[in-house]
Amino acid sequence: MRSSIVGSVLLFSACGGGGDVKITQPPPKYVGFHSLAHHANVVWVEATYYTDHKRVFDTNLTSEGILPVALRVGLRGKGQDELPIQITPEDMALCMYLQDGTRLDSVPYAEVGKDDEDVQDAVTRFALKTGLIEVWDKAREGFVFFQIPKGDDFEVDGGRIIHHTPTLSRELDLLKSLITLKIKSLEGLTPIFVGIKQDIKGGR
């Protein structure tokens, strides 16, 4: 047994292995998705990642495996005052996709910060309000929350996420992620795809 261990170590060293795992950086020319998207020029969605969301929630949610993103959903343009369009928790199918295709599922706000009353209060206060969509000028930004998969496969540091897989470790730019959600109208459910921008000051 010991022979095989010694042999393996030697084999690894002799072939130049043994260094730290090098992390693949995101490609420099990558063109991500716009952080303001629309459906039929009527329903508009804007997504923002606030780097100092700790100031809003009194805790760093990412260290707890939760990624908060602020969404503003509103109607503008022709028909903005008459259209009964809504977002509902049941039909919204909210997801976030990292650059490498990893899907992060959304977490209901009631599940976020359950163990801390102050955090839960803040989360409840600043969470996205569902229901009928307001006209854009009245639409207020609200937070939605995504679960970073548990375990050692992911590390979050500000705007970057490192994803470790058995074959490679890859740095992913959070701001090149994609959020998908569905809106509900008389025509049925319609998907909207939106990128993410970064800002500093949250909780407006």
Binding site: L10, A14, C15, K29, D100, T165
Partner: protein, 306 residues
């Protein structure tokens, strides 16, 4: 630490056999083998099997990306192609997210693969986009490298035959599909502005042919260009619409019935043109893809201002 006599013999044996082997082996050999496996799986339409060796190659050459740029370029090309195809209802099924090491789970049954959820499709599209941009970032360096170093081919014949330039075109077409399917008309416009040849109907077909674009991806190219041209050139947009309708079946259900109906509705109602048979002047009934009287293909119909 004490080392037994048996261990010393084992060490000596390892040093005798392994060290010279590591020193003498061409460093491009192993990436070549991985690329070959990936390309063969791709050719067989086994997308999941194609991704594993390509990702291994990228992981193993991470320390020296410049030195292995050509092989990494081809690996990202194969990954782009695999994920683009997988997003067309093929081979990968559900997306594993919570509590799983894998982003993409393999379908146990072929029928499940055909039912790939839109969620899985988005995952594959994102992965295709990332690998596509990796490829684009490496293309100049890859093109400047020789196909063989110290007697070792860097890539298998099917990839070298296609070449860096055509692989780069293939990647760009996949990226166009991603931006189109994920509803980013501005990014589609940017891509088409930089590749205006694609807007020439016949050239578009030739470009896809030369780049080896798989049949199942082509309807998406036609569909995306059709939508892009609706506002600027309805006559040309009609050609792409007709070809989309003609080939939609190849896209394995990812061009949905409602999308097809919407295109048909554009032809009959929303366009400011009337499309009619050049022989008998019958108005287009797009669900038939040809004139009911004389079988003239829809794509040959004339556009007349209403």
């Amino acid at each position: 630490m004490t080392v037994s006599r048996r261990d010393r013999w084992a060490l000596a044996a390892v040093l005798t056999v392994v060290v010279p082997a590591c020193k003498s082996e061409n460093p491009y050999r192993r990436p070549f083998e991985l690329l070959t496996r990936s390309a063969q799986a791709c050719d067989a339409g086994n997308w999941k099997a194609a991704t594993s060796p390509a990702e291994e190659l990228i992981g193993e050459t991470n320390e020296k990306p410049e030195e292995f740029a050509r092989q990494r370029f081809f690996a990202h090309h194969l990954l782009t192609l695999s994920h683009s195809n997988a997003a067309c209802g093929e081979a990968f099924a559900a997306v594993a997210s919570q509590g799983s090491r894998s982003r993409f789970a393999t379908a146990e049954h072929p029928s499940q693969a055909r039912l790939a959820t839109p969620s899985a499709e988005v995952s594959h599209l994102m992965a295709a986009l990332l690998n596509g941009w990796e490829s684009v970032s490496l293309s100049d360096r890859a093109a400047s490298m020789p196909a063989m170093i110290d007697g070792q081919s860097l890539a298998p014949p099917q990839l070298e035959k296609l070449g860096v330039d055509e692989c780069a075109v293939s990647v760009r077409l996949c990226q166009l599909i991603v931006y189109g399917r994920l509803q980013s008309p501005d990014l589609v416009k940017e891509m088409l502005d930089s590749s205006p040849d694609l807007l020439d109907f016949e050239r578009c077909r030739q470009i896809m042919e030369k780049a080896g674009t798989p049949e199942r991806l082509r309807p998406w190219i036609y569909c995306i260009i059709h939508h892009h041209l609706r506002q600027s050139d309805e006559r040309l947009s009609f050609k792409f619409a007709a070809r989309t309708l003609e080939t939609a079946g190849q896209a394995r259900g990812t061009i949905t019935t409602s999308m097809i109906e919407e295109i048909q509705h554009w032809i009959t109602d929303d366009s400011t043109f009337v499309f009619e048979c050049p022989k008998c002047k019958a108005t287009a009934i797009p669900k038939y893809n040809a004139c009911l009287r004389d079988s003239t293909p829809l794509i040959q119909f004339d556009a007349r201002k209403e």
